[in-house]
């Protein structure tokens, strides 16, 4: 038997092995959702034919979600006055630095595409509203630029969305001192989950029948991918070294098992996938139950991974 006694009864260190509280999972969830919204609005804009008003306006959801998420990040900083320091440096070894810059790129790209996707009258409404803050002319200019470069912008928006989704996972996976996070599959896992929560978010609004069908298909694909990556992630941990095995046991028999399997795997992945399949096969009317389950599952995934990784 080995008994280790650390003579350091410091609340500042020992309780703070759990250094990241609610702010980080909230941000990772909103960031992932924004990534999914960006990817899907790009894909929707690549389709032929007319778009519903909901889809046109929902392109603005990505920057809004990112803003709320960044608000949570800001609350987590313990030296808030130095937040601007993120933008005086680019450290290529630090995913957090990549993320800080990706978040900045999200705004012009997603706003330009969202404005470009609006009709003339709608752009004028936005410009009139922004005019109250003295931003009418830049809004019109951004919209004109977006229309001019509509083709490329859709792909850039899709790329930035994918980068945002991937980075939220890589942020955790590069922190090698926390065994549960130490898997390269975290990036794809959070990207797939972000795509599915983004789809679920869009499904909460009044899409046209055709668009809903399109988004649902992407959601099913994303959920399928997420299940596959999750299985590979667990298999990778279980078959690695002792530290990884210990980390895997948190989810396979340890304290996080019940919440992980019930909230994430069953309620967040299996049930919505089944409901979506039934809805499309039996031509049932879609309800908000499925997207709400996906959103709750996506949030539970971030919450459990961030908390269990620090346990």
């Amino acid at each position: 038997m080995n008994e280790i006694d650390v003579a350091r009864h410091s609340l500042m260190i020992d309780s703070l092995l759990h250094i990241w509280g609610w702010e980080i999972p909230v941000y990772l969830f909103l960031g992932g959702m924004a990534a999914g919204v960006m990817i899907l609005t790009s894909l929707l804009m690549m389709r032929e034919g007319d778009r519903s008003p909901a889809v046109r306006w929902l392109a603005f959801a990505a920057p809004v979600l990112v803003t709320v998420g960044m608000g949570a990040l800001f609350l987590d900083l313990s030296f808030k006055l130095h937040a601007w320091r993120f933008y005086l440096a680019f450290r290529w070894t630090s995913p957090m630095s990549w993320g800080a810059w990706i978040l900045v790129v999200v705004y012009p790209v997603s706003l330009a595409l969202a404005l470009a996707g609006l009709g003339d009258e709608q752009v004028e409404r936005v410009a009139a509203f922004m005019g109250r803050f003295g931003l009418g002319a830049p809004t019109r200019a951004l919209s004109a630029f977006g229309r001019q470069r509509f083709e490329e912008l859709r792909w850039v928006n899709l790329g930035v969305g994918a980068a945002l989704g991937l980075y939220t996972g890589i942020l955790l996976s590069t922190l090698g001192a926390r065994a549960l996070w130490n898997s390269a599959l975290f990036g794809p896992l959070f990207l797939a989950s972000g795509l599915s929560t983004g789809a679920a978010f869009l499904m909460l609004f009044r899409l046209s029948e055709d668009e809903r069908h399109f988004v649902t298909r992407w959601d099913k694909l994303a959920i399928g991918l997420e299940v596959a990556v999750l299985l590979l992630f667990l298999a990778g941990l279980v078959t690695s070294g002792a530290a990884s095995k210990d980390a895997a046991s948190l989810l396979l028999g340890g304290p996080w098992t019940a919440s992980f399997w019930s909230l994430v795997v069953i309620a967040g992945l299996a049930v919505p996938l089944l409901l979506e399949t039934l809805e499309s096969r039996l031509h049932l009317r879609a309800t908000v139950v499925t997207p709400l389950l996906v959103l709750a599952g996506g949030f539970a995934l971030r919450w459990i991974m961030v908390a269990a990784g620090q346990a």
Partner: protein, 179 residues
């Protein structure tokens, strides 16, 4: 020649008196509850067959510091002699370095920045020893430059058996524990 500061902690001599902890707190004016070094007692076996190892632990000033890699602003950096340091004016308190450190060597100072052991670089630059080393009543702590083959720490590490903590983390620590 480039310096590589290191420390040897003699676990045979250490009695766990915590003088290193107190002198560090005093020297560096650490806040209530903030520690840059600490004592670990590891007891092996079951009564009456027991053995105990006492270690004075601190930041390992790793040669491949994962905390520096994780820092998004460059606040965590490698200073003179390989000392891993935090530039307070650049620190946002994002805590990525704390999450990246395998040794739990960092904490958030009440003023907001992240704080940690500096090997008392401000003293070393004046030719003095780190406060913990100077204070240690059993002379368990030896500090010096590993690149200098005649330094006491280099000679100790050549002659005595030593190990580092969690070598599997791959950070290449520069605090060695003699046994």
């Amino acid at each position: 020649m480039k310096k590589r500061y290191a420390m040897a902690v003699d676990t045979v001599r250490c009695v766990g008196c915590s003088a290193c902890v107190i002198s560090c707190k005093t020297e560096n004016a650490l806040p209530d509850g903030g520690f840059r070094d600490w004592i670990v007692q590891e007891v092996r076996g079951a009564f009456p067959d027991l053995s105990m190892e006492i270690r004075s632990e601190r930041c390992n000033h790793c040669s491949e510091p994962s905390c520096v890699d994780a820092c998004p602003t460059g606040a965590s950096h490698v200073a003179e002699g390989g000392v891993v340091a935090v530039a307070r004016n650049k620190c946002t308190g994002c805590k990525a370095c704390i999450a990246a450190c395998p040794y739990g060597a960092r904490y958030v100072h009440p003023a907001g920045f992240v704080d940690k052991c500096t090997f008392c670089l401000h003293r070393v630059q004046k030719g003095k020893q780190p406060a913990c080393v100077e204070t240690c009543p059993t002379r368990s702590l030896t500090f010096g430059d590993l690149e200098d083959p005649d330094s006491p720490v280099a000679r100790l590490l050549r002659s005595r058996r030593s190990r580092v903590l969690q070598p599997e983390a791959g950070n290449k620590p520069n605090v060695f524990f003699l046994s």
